[in-house]
């Protein structure tokens, strides 16, 4: 499998404090990849660097073979990489439909004359965009609230809306920052289903999340971060059974020989 996202020796420090140090990993084309690690292990900094919200000190980032190192966030997005935010961001005063319409990628080819005069080209794209927005809102189960301003949504509903907006931009790769934190536990499986469906439709995912069950049920590969660099990676099973991962999270790795026989 070829990599849609390739990170090579990424480093980033804030005022001399190393947030990410020599991190390298790949996200395979068509995969759902998880990124986990304790708080402060550099996950957020890493995705900020990838998505153009932070400049890296060293390293290289490629999206589908194209170098996207240190280019503006908007350019990264136009190259086909869309991210969501941990502290969910939506346009609070806009209704759900407008929230998605802003994000739609199909308007990018139009010039300002088309937009101001509302030429037939613009109206065609506009109508198609609205249909697609309604479909995506239906997909995340928010149709009932389509005309409501986003500010009335719950935290979890905003996360779903943010995901729909990310889909609206027609990306190749979506980076989700804690997509189910704050989402009603009964709906977490639904979210996993939605992501699987989008994945089958051809979108690759990199997911930062603390909900291990969610990650294990969804991901093909899990990358573990500790203290600013990659600790290990592998299938969800391999990673969950890795004593180093337990050590990173809990700081008390049981030594293999000290374990009771039935536990090994």
């Amino acid at each position: 499998m070829s990599a849609i996202l390739r990170i090579a020796e990424l480093s980033k420090a804030f005022n001399g404090v190393r947030a990410v140090q020599n991190a390298s990993f790949e996200v395979e084309q068509g995969s759902i990849t998880g990124l986990i690690g304790p708080n402060g292990s550099g996950k957020s900094t890493t995705i900020d660097c990838i998505s153009g919200f932070q400049r890296l000190d060293a390293g290289r980032i490629e999206l589908g073979g194209q170098n996207i190192t240190n280019i503006s966030a908007a350019t990264v997005a136009r190259a086909g990489l869309i991210r969501t935010f941990q502290n969910v961001r939506v346009y609070d005063s806009y209704n759900l439909l407008d929230n998605l319409l802003v994000a739609d990628a199909s308007f990018r080819g139009l010039n300002w004359f088309d937009v101001l005069v509302r030429t037939p080209a613009f109206r065609g794209i506009s109508a198609a965009a609205e249909d697609r927005a309604r479909e995506l809102i239906e997909l995340v189960g928010l149709t009932r609230l389509i005309d409501a301003p986003a500010t009335v949504l719950s935290y979890g509903q905003k996360k779903l809306l943010a995901f729909a907006a990310a889909m609206m931009a027609r990306p190749r790769l979506i980076i989700l920052d804690e997509p189910v934190a704050g989402v009603n536990p009964t709906r977490v499986n639904e979210v996993a289903d939605i992501l699987r469906k989008a994945n089958v439709a051809g979108i690759s995912f990199l997911i930062v999340e603390h909900n291990v069950e969610f990650i294990n049920s969804l991901c093909h590969k899990v990358i573990v971060f500790e203290q600013g660099s990659k600790l290990t990676e592998g299938t969800p099973e391999a990673v969950s059974n890795d004593p180093r991962v337990l050590d990173a999270y809990l700081g008390i790795a049981p030594k293999p020989e000290a374990l009771p026989a039935e536990a090994t």
């Binding site: 998505s51 153009g52 919200f53 503006s72 966030a73 908007a74 350019t75 997005a77 136009r78 869309i82 991210r83 969501t84 935010f85 961001r89 939506v90 346009y91 609070d92 005063s93 806009y94 407008d98 319409l101 802003v102 994000a103 990628a105 308007f107 990018r108 300002w112 937009v115 101001l116 509302r118 613009f122 506009s126 609230l145 409501a148 301003p149 500010t151 009335v152 907006a165 931009a169």
Partner: protein, 318 residues
């Protein structure tokens, strides 16, 4: 915010009323107020584009207003151009000026933006006062002639009123179509959440610059027309009073709401006059009204209505 269905009817009624206004009153005084009202309203709507839509609190509007006024006055008095060419000249100078100032400052932080635009406005006032060779300094340029078109002279207030009315209607129609277009949608998205807009592949800078430049051109042309209404221009044309008026209209109406700002503009011009029944208390009452609106509706009338709507919706969803 969705508009009531009767918006179109109300707008048509207002336009017809405004067209007939000079027939309803013979008083130059009232016509004068109407002219000021239309021009302040247009300048406020332009400020609403930068502040209410793009989220940029720009004090540069005062500078553009003054530059526009001086440009048209100098074009007519020194270059011997017509009033119409003068207004156009004011627009073009402001266009270039706003691009020149806008490109570097659009990338600054919000606070720096306020300071830089304020500095520009103060600098414009300083130049008007001290560059005596061009601006005639504190004495100003008196005796600006009445505009004329193909032999027809707009020499009375009632005639000049129609220049202000046509300008205001064209400018407002343009700003309205901008606001309701996708450009308006993106601009207001930028104001709400700048990083989210970027993460969706839209660079905010060109949108912000466009809003800044368009507002500068409209404000400059409004200033150009206003100078000929006053028939004199001097450094008091750059008095902070004008900026304050534009800002009050936008804030009372509610930044980011087109119709609320238009209505607030009309109300803010009529109110001080309507209060003339008591000359001693006039400004006191005006001040009390302003303070009361700010205390009870800190995000303006439209913001207050919107918050009530959201509260009702939240209740219904529970």
């Amino acid at each position: 915010m969705t508009q009531p269905r009767w918006t179109l009817a109300a707008v048509l009624a207002a336009i017809i009323f405004l067209l007939c206004l000079p027939l309803l009153t013979g008083s130059d005084y009232f016509i004068g107020i109407a002219i000021s009202g239309l021009i302040f309203l247009t300048a406020a709507a332009a400020l609403n584009l930068v502040y209410g839509y793009a989220g940029l609190l720009s004090f540069a509007q005062l500078g553009f207003w003054g530059v526009g006024g001086y440009c048209s006055a100098l074009a007519v008095m020194d270059f011997g151009w017509s009033f119409w060419a003068g207004v156009l000249f004011a627009g073009i100078v402001n266009l270039l000026l706003a691009i020149g100032i806008g490109i570097p400052i659009i990338r600054t932080t919000r606070h720096a933006f306020v300071v830089v635009t304020l500095t520009f406005a103060l600098l414009a006032g300083l130049i008007a006062r001290d560059w005596v060779d061009v601006t005639r300094g504190p004495l100003g340029i008196p005796g600006l002639p009445a505009p004329s078109l193909m032999g027809f002279s707009f020499s009375t207030s009632a005639r000049f009123y129609y220049i202000a009315l046509v300008f205001a209607l064209i400018a407002l129609a343009f700003l309205y179509s901008l606001k309701t277009s996708r450009i308006g949608l993106v601009l207001k998205a930028i104001r709400q959440n700048d990083p989210l807009v970027e993460s969706q592949g839209i660079s905010p800078a060109p949108y912000k610059l466009a809003a800044f430049v368009i507002a500068a051109v409209v404000t400059g042309m409004a200033g150009a027309i206003y100078a000929f209404h006053l028939k004199i221009i001097d450094p008091s044309f750059l008095d902070f009073y004008y900026m304050q008026t534009f800002l009050i209209i936008v804030i009372i109406g509610g930044a980011g709401s087109f119709w609320a700002v238009v209505l607030a503009g009309a109300a803010m011009v009529v109110l001080p006059e309507a209060l003339r029944f008591s000359d001693e208390l006039r400004m006191v009452i005006y001040g009390v009204v302003l303070v009361a609106v700010m205390m009870f509706m800190p995000s303006g009338i439209s913001g207050w209505l919107e918050n009530r709507r959201i509260a009702a919706l939240r209740k219904a969803l529970r």
